[in-house]
């Protein structure tokens, strides 16, 4: 009860400040900002996409470069103070070098931090060459060892001595774009089929509903496996990646179509729709000008919630060893590589780092979608 009261008070105060009429989007935005976690999640999601965009710049090392001196190297911390020659401490951003010891009998490598060996770190350092945003050739990297010959593994290294942080950063691009592209496909198919189904009703509706029911009753994994295995092997990795995305998006559109249909069903007999139709607008115009805007917010929310599903679906595909071809790296492939007892025992960071990133991203996207949904709900106070 109290929450309702205080909320309406807030609203009252604010509406005094802005007497102008707010459009539906502005209202939604205001509502959204009050959902603190969702608002915060927006920034996380934004950050993740920035990482995806500027992956090469942000990654301290080449994510494909192997190193015989560092297989299963543990994460290295960033240190600020180093002993100075006069016995005190001096401020220098650095990491400590690792010494590798090999136990041949047990076939294990031990790494010991060497406090003597300083690896100075810095911003905008030189490293491997790449093209920023696929255009500008450069070799500057946001953060890393000042000497390009030195190697530092902030999140540890994998079994081939590759930098996990860089691999996660480069995987972000693939995983997040799979989410986006998949959602775009779902949106296209889901909204058009759902819209048609809900707007026209009758036998078309029936046919589409049966199609959805049919697709949903086939277990997804066999469907994926069948389709993924049918991808010709001589296709380049990029095309394979695109097809994998399409396959993954097959799960998304049915849900969306159902929601859109529901909305259409409930809206099509509303007065304003009837009025528009009497005004002589064509079906398409009615849909575009009146129906779609009235539930766009809901769609955005559903889409946001669909992105994490796609990311997780790609993880499952990678686990089954179908889909993405090396050297393409995604969060799913990283997790798959770490999905074994050996890793849990010897190099847990290989599991923890990508796992944490996936959970964070999926969490943020879910909170964001949740907040959007709440904000778009006219009944919510």
């Amino acid at each position: 009860m109290t929450s309702i009261d205080s909320a309406s008070e807030v609203q009252a105060v604010e509406s005094v400040k802005t007497p102008d009429l707010l459009g539906p989007w502005a209202l939604m935005w205001r509502q959204f900002r009050r959902h603190k976690i969702a608002y915060f999640s927006l920034f996380i999601v934004g950050f993740v996409y920035v990482v995806a965009l500027f992956g090469e710049f942000l990654s301290p090392a080449d994510h494909l470069a192997t190193n015989t001196r560092a297989p299963f190297a543990p994460p290295q911390g960033i240190h600020f103070l180093a002993p100075a020659e006069d016995g005190g401490s001096r401020f220098i951003l650095h990491a400590r070098g690792l010494k590798m010891e090999i136990d041949r009998e047990a076939m294990r490598r031990h790494f010991v931090e060497d406090p003597e060996k300083l690896i100075p770190l810095g911003f905008f350092v030189k490293g491997h060459e790449y093209k920023l945003l696929w255009l500008i050739p450069t070799n500057r990297h946001f953060f890393g060892p000042k000497d390009p010959k030195q190697k530092v593994y902030f999140f540890g290294a994998d079994r081939l001595g590759r930098d996990i942080l860089s691999r996660i950063i480069m995987g972000t691009r693939i995983s997040m774009s799979i989410g986006l592209v998949g959602v775009a496909v779902s949106l296209l198919v889901g909204v058009s089929l759902g819209g048609i189904s809900g707007y026209y009703g009758g036998w078309i509706d029936n046919a589409i509903q049966r199609l959805i029911e049919f697709l949903r009753s086939i277990p997804t994994i066999p469907l994926w496996m069948g389709l993924a295995a049918a991808i010709p092997l001589d296709w380049p990795p990029l095309r394979t990646y695109f097809v994998v995305t399409l396959i993954v998006s097959m799960i998304g559109w049915t849900t969306l179509a159902r929601e859109v249909r529901g909305k259409f069903l409930s809206l099509r007999h509303e007065d304003f729709v009837t009025a528009a139709r009497l005004d002589g607008l064509s079906d398409w115009q009615v849909i575009r000008k009146h129906l779609v805007p009235s539930f766009a917010s809901h769609i955005i929310a559903s889409l946001t919630l669909a992105v994490p599903l796609m990311i997780l679906a790609e993880t499952s595909l990678s686990f089954l060893g179908i889909g993405l071809q090396p050297p393409i790296v995604s969060w799913g492939t990283l997790l798959k590589e770490a999905q074994n007892i050996r890793t849990i025992i010897e190099a847990p960071w290989l599991l923890i780092a990508p796992g944490a990133v996936i959970v964070t991203a999926v969490l943020a996207l879910n909170f964001l979608g949740d907040g959007l949904r709440d904000a778009a709900d006219p009944y919510a106070n």
Binding site: T66, A229, P327
Partner: protein, 639 residues
């Protein structure tokens, strides 16, 4: 942990002398009870009059215990084949040096090695108590091997240079294998896995599924929902040992040390119980096997096998877990699981080979791949030591596909040619073949397009091929070669390479030791399910009207291998084989990467008579002939 094999030659001689006399054989308490209950005949009647006295590894053992293992839910029949199944007419010694008697008591070979006469043991019995005689071998030969419906393709073991073997029965206990031409490698081949055929088909049981012996076979066909005609029914009841079929029919009598009671595939646990009629004894006159039963718990994932091992739920295992990548975690849990390691000599000619298609259908790729300079260039571009350090913990040597150090056929230049990592040298060779490069620095083929090879790669053998392939593609890129990786499942890979629809792929190859004689698949073009690098030539080699005519040098290799097979004495075989290897190495067919060090298996601390090191190979299905002499110290599993 190393247990050395004690030479028990003297003991065997004494035991043999004793075996001739009336001897009080001993049996497992479990069986003695059944004899007392009248369910089994006494042990003297169950054993042949002259049982095989096994030369046990450490010493005579004690009865009891269950050998617990794990098996994957599907496709893991070799788990049983290699622990129980391989127990043939003759067997290899535990060190894979010589062929010894097994089911056959002894044999005679004609001077030209074309006729082999085997003497069987009198009074030997199948696992259901029915007698095993020359008739069973003849049954296999006449009714199965020679029946085109049941055997459309004859197993290579029983096909000599002059065609399939002819078997005749001399008397109840003597059979003669006649190849019509010298076939000097036959005894070796018979001792390997596929030599199982003549002694795996009990006539008294299997003849009921043939119209020749049973007029009413159709009734049996109708009763079995999985069979549509008698041939299908027969295959179900008498399937080949290396398919699941063999292990799905527990009714089929065998000569193995344990016989199945729970079939493979439909239950949570495969169980094999002691065969009370097994024909081997130890020097104390105790009937083998010592261990009561073997169980295979069905699991779905290799990770589960590892955890079970840590937990002490596995008694003896090398399959699935004996890989360098597992060594550290297995070492950590040794005390908890109460197990130790033994060495496994799984030493093929090479564990990682770039098989490039010398008979490629695309003329451009074919021309380049067939250029030896190209292959030499690729070979020099490979940083083999880095692969070994990263993937196998340094447990291996850079090497080509060649006989291993320690084998009779080893020559250093075979193994080491072109293995030096030298990108300048690689570029020098490659510049002779593909001098032009495109804007991105990749070499251009003779047709003006970037020269790309698509490598098929499946994650097989637990050898981290996916990682290896990424490294290899990286090395290739360093010298301007575009190697594309296509990860796939193994059956699709096999499908593609057997239909000659591939550029190149990554696989391993047998022939590193004595099996180079019988399985020279990387030295002589051969039709094979696993290895293809010149399928057209291989077809021509079998039938010159088909396939593709090879160059003279390859034709010479074919005829040299015919000579090897025809040679009667081991000395001649070796001389000719080395000549063949000289020719094959000169051709440099495949690019080898790594020859591995021995791998390992685990045995719980009270398992004794464990062969260490244990040699295994694609054809050598060990430890099967020697599982029967393993035992649990204390007669029971460790808690």
């Amino acid at each position: 942990m190393l247990r050395t094999r004690k030479l028990t030659a003297l003991a065997s001689v004494i035991a043999l002398a004793m075996a001739g006399q009336a001897f009080a054989w001993e049996e497992a308490p479990q069986l003695a009870q059944q004899v007392a209950d009248g369910k089994l005949p006494p042990v003297d009647e169950r054993l042949p009059t002259d049982p095989l006295v096994m030369d046990v590894i450490e010493g005579p053992g004690e009865y009891g215990g269950t050998l617990r293992r794990a098996i994957l839910g599907g496709g893991d029949q070799h788990n049983m084949v290699r622990t129980i199944g391989s127990d043939n007419m003759v067997r290899w010694s535990p060190d894979w040096k010589e062929v010894r008697p097994n089911i056959a008591k002894s044999w005679d070979v004609s001077d030209d090695a074309s006729k082999f006469t085997f003497h069987l043991r009198e009074g030997m019995k199948w696992s259901d108590g029915a007698p095993f005689t020359a008739d069973d071998i003849l049954f296999w030969y006449e009714d199965i091997f020679s029946n085109a419906e049941l055997t459309p393709n004859k197993d290579a073991t029983f096909v000599g240079p002059a065609g399939p073997v002819k078997i005749t029965k001399i008397d109840e206990l003597t059979v003669e294998f006649d190849f019509g031409a010298p076939n000097g490698l036959f005894l070796q081949a018979l001792a390997y896995g596929f030599g199982y055929h003549p002694t795996a088909y009990p006539k008294h049981y299997l003849s009921q599924f043939m119209p020749k012996y049973n007029d009413d076979v159709q009734a049996l066909v109708d009763a079995d929902p999985a069979a549509g005609n008698w041939v299908q029914l027969f295959n179900l009841k008498a399937g080949p040992m290396d398919t699941p079929l063999f292990w799905q029919n527990p009714d089929r009598p065998t000569l193995h040390a344990w016989h199945l009671t729970n079939a493979y595939g439909s239950t949570d646990r495969v169980v094999a119980e002691r065969n009370p009629y097994y024909y081997k004894v130890d020097s104390k006159g105790q009937q083998l096997p010592y261990i009561d039963r073997i169980t295979y718990d069905q699991v779905e994932d290799v990770e589960t096998i590892l955890l079970k091992t840590f937990n002490g739920e596995i008694d003896y295992m090398l399959r699935h877990i004996g890989r360098p990548s597992n060594k550290a975690s297995l070492t950590d849990n040794m005390d908890r699981g109460k197990y130790g390691f033994f060495d496994v000599g799984d030493l093929p000619a090479n564990i990682m080979i770039l098989m490039m298609n010398l008979n490629h259908t695309d003329p451009v790729k074919r021309e380049v791949i067939n250029n030896k300079d190209f292959r030499i260039g690729v070979s020099h571009a490979m940083n083999r030591q880095e692969v070994i350090d990263l993937l196998y913990f340094g447990a291996g040597q850079p090497a080509q596909t060649a006989p291993r150090e320690g084998s009779d056929l080893y020559k250093e230049e075979y193994a080491k040619q072109f293995t030096e990592y030298d990108t300048d040298l690689a570029n020098e060779y490659l510049d002779k073949v593909l001098p032009e490069k495109d804007a991105e620095g990749f070499r251009i083929g003779p047709d003006g397009n970037r020269f790309t090879l698509v490598f098929l790669m499946a994650d097989v053998f637990g050898l981290q091929y996916p990682d290896a392939m990424e490294l290899i593609a990286g090395y290739a890129a360093d010298v301007g070669l575009d190697f594309q990786i296509r990860a796939t499942d193994r059956s699709r890979l096999i499908d593609l390479h057997t239909s000659n629809d591939f550029d190149a792929y990554l696989w391993n190859c047998s022939g590193g030791q004595a099996d180079a004689y019988t399985s020279p698949i990387c030295y002589v073009p051969t039709i094979s399910n696993s290895v293809s690098w010149a399928r057209g030539w291989a077809q021509w080699g079998i039938d010159p009207t088909t396939g593709e005519e090879p160059p003279q040098a390859v034709k010479d290799i074919f005829s040299k291998y015919k000579d090897v097979r025809a040679a009667a004495s081991p000395e001649d075989q070796k001389t000719l084989m080395i000549e063949l290897l000289d020719m094959a190495m000169e051709q440099f067919f495949t690019i080898g990467m790594v020859q591995n060090d021995p791998v390992f298996g685990i045995a719980r601390n009270n398992v004794r008579n464990v062969p260490d090191p244990l040699p295994i190979a694609g054809q050598l299905w060990f430890p099967a002939p020697y599982t029967a002499q393993m035992y649990f110290e204390g007669g029971a599993n460790l808690p």
